[in-house]
């Protein structure tokens, strides 16, 4: 016998577990953003030349731009499969607040896409001669920045789910909104590489994350209601 006492936390955990299970059963698809990340960084290196001096200077920018593009690739999958097989409708019709389900989906998306990306970024950082002192700041900026990508990305993924050509449209809409995260993250890693203080930029990243964490789930919920309505 199974009791469904169904407090909000159980719903959150149930949806989170569901998405993680589905994501892990598509393990091959999880590697695509990683491979894309490696390819983009390699292309930058090929374009810029193998000299340590130049690469060291552009390493933070290369890593972050590639990570950003890789994460926009996987945004579309957040709601797309649920819309096609009708489970998105069941989410909207659940007596539990939709915002809980949306938060669970965003968390699942972050775990499935950003976590491997962060690990890969650390290795790639070394490969492009990023100084030792900058590795920890790179990790910090990725930890603070990638959730913002998933949060703000969720709003626009919900807005464009099911539209024809929603892949390109989603990227076109989302990249301008990622600019603050890009600027402060690359600045942090840059300063760390030059041995300067990085607290100022990290505070900004933290502030953007808090803002996104409070507003994005709300906006995603109304976007879903509008798209399904």
């Amino acid at each position: 016998m199974q009791m469904f006492h169904n407090s909000t936390s159980t719903v959150l955990i149930a949806v989170l577990k569901r998405d993680l299970v589905i994501g892990l059963r598509h393990r091959s698809e999880l590697f695509n953003p990683l491979v894309f990340f490696f390819i983009v960084v390699t292309m930058f290196v090929l374009a810029l030349g193998p000299y340590e001096t130049t690469l060291r200077q552009v390493a933070p920018a290369v890593i972050w731009v590639a990570a950003l593009l890789a994460s926009t690739l996987s945004l579309d999958m957040m709601f797309h499969s649920d819309l096609d097989d009708g489970s998105l409708e069941q989410f909207l019709l659940s007596p539990h607040p939709l915002i809980i389900i949306v938060v669970a989906k965003i968390l699942a998306h972050w775990l499935l896409t950003a976590a491997p990306l962060i690990v890969a970024a650390l290795f790639l950082g070394l490969m492009v001669y990023l100084p030792q002192t900058a590795i920890m700041p790179l990790l910090l900026t990725l930890l603070l920045g990638t959730p913002v990508l998933s949060l703000v990305g969720a709003v626009l993924a919900a807005l464009t789910v099911g539209l024809r050509g929603s892949g390109i449209l989603l990227t076109l809409l989302i990249l301008p909104l990622y600019i603050p995260v890009l600027i402060f993250s690359v600045a942090t890693v840059d300063n760390a590489a030059k041995g300067l203080a990085i607290t100022g930029e990290l505070y900004f990243l933290g502030a953007i994350l808090v803002l996104a964490a409070t507003l994005a789930p709300l906006a995603t919920t109304s976007s879903l209601r509008i798209r399904l309505g």
Binding site: M1, Q2, M3, F4, N6, T10, V11, A14, V15, R18, V21, I22, R25, H26, S81, D84, D85, G86, S87, E89, Q90, F91, L92, L93, S94, P95, H96, P97, I101, L228, G229
Partner: protein, 216 residues
């Protein structure tokens, strides 16, 4: 298919009504001024050719879409003002099954149970067994036939004791066994003072229960 008679008496009398519903989809008026009133145990059957707006009407009735005009009342209260209460009492099975191919039958029902609000304990294997899917408990939905997947989707109706069922062509891709199963479930639901709204091509013959017909 024994009904839970014990709890029948303390059921509050529900009513589900709609008045002057209008729906316009890309410049075409699908229906306007549509209204009905359903009390306990009644069945509303919506018939009409493809593209006549059956699915749009059902999506409006279950609160997914907003009507261009008119209102829908559950127990005389507008469903969009009392969204949580309404969803507690309503189950909607759409044209699309709403189950994940990667998950097994049991996992699909578990997530459906988690999303619902139920107070009594239910055994998911029992439900699967009722729907004739007992031996497929751990097979991914991908490997099930379309009829079995439809039955898995319809199994959600048994998880929660919701008073209102809104079903979009429940009999599609069901074999004879499945159709009979579905008819018994609707009959039992209506006998247990539940209200059913369904859209079908071929009429569902349920005896002894008041059936209202709407042709779009």
């Amino acid at each position: 298919m024994e009904m839970r008679e014990t709890e029948q008496q303390d059921r509050v009398l529900n009513s589900f009504s709609a008045n002057a519903l209008t729906c316009i989809r890309n410049d075409v008026v699908l229906f306007s001024g549509l209204g009905f009133r359903l009390d306990c145990g009644e069945v509303l059957q919506i018939q009409g050719p493809n593209g006549s707006g059956k699915t749009s009407l059902l999506r409006i009735l279950c609160g997914l879409a907003l009507p261009d005009d008119g209102a829908i009342l559950w127990n005389e209260k507008n469903i969009h003002d009392h969204r949580q209460d309404y969803f507690k009492e309503m189950s909607y099975i759409g044209h699309v099954n709403g189950i994940k191919m990667e998950l097994t039958a049991l996992e699909n029902l578990t997530i459906a149970g988690a999303l619902a609000v139920t107070n009594q304990s239910i055994s998911l294997p029992d439900i699967l067994e009722k729907m004739g899917l007992a031996e497929h408990e751990n097979t991914p939905a991908r490997k099930l036939s379309s009829g079995q997947r439809r039955r898995l989707a319809l199994a959600r109706l048994l998880i929660t004791d919701t008073r209102l069922w809104i079903l979009d062509e429940p009999l599609t891709s069901l074999d004879d066994y499945g159709r009979q199963l579905m008819r018994d479930m609707i009959t039992a639901h209506a006998a247990g003072n539940g209200i059913t709204v369904l859209a079908t091509h071929d009429p569902v013959d349920i005896q002894r229960h008041k059936i209202t017909m709407i042709n779009l």
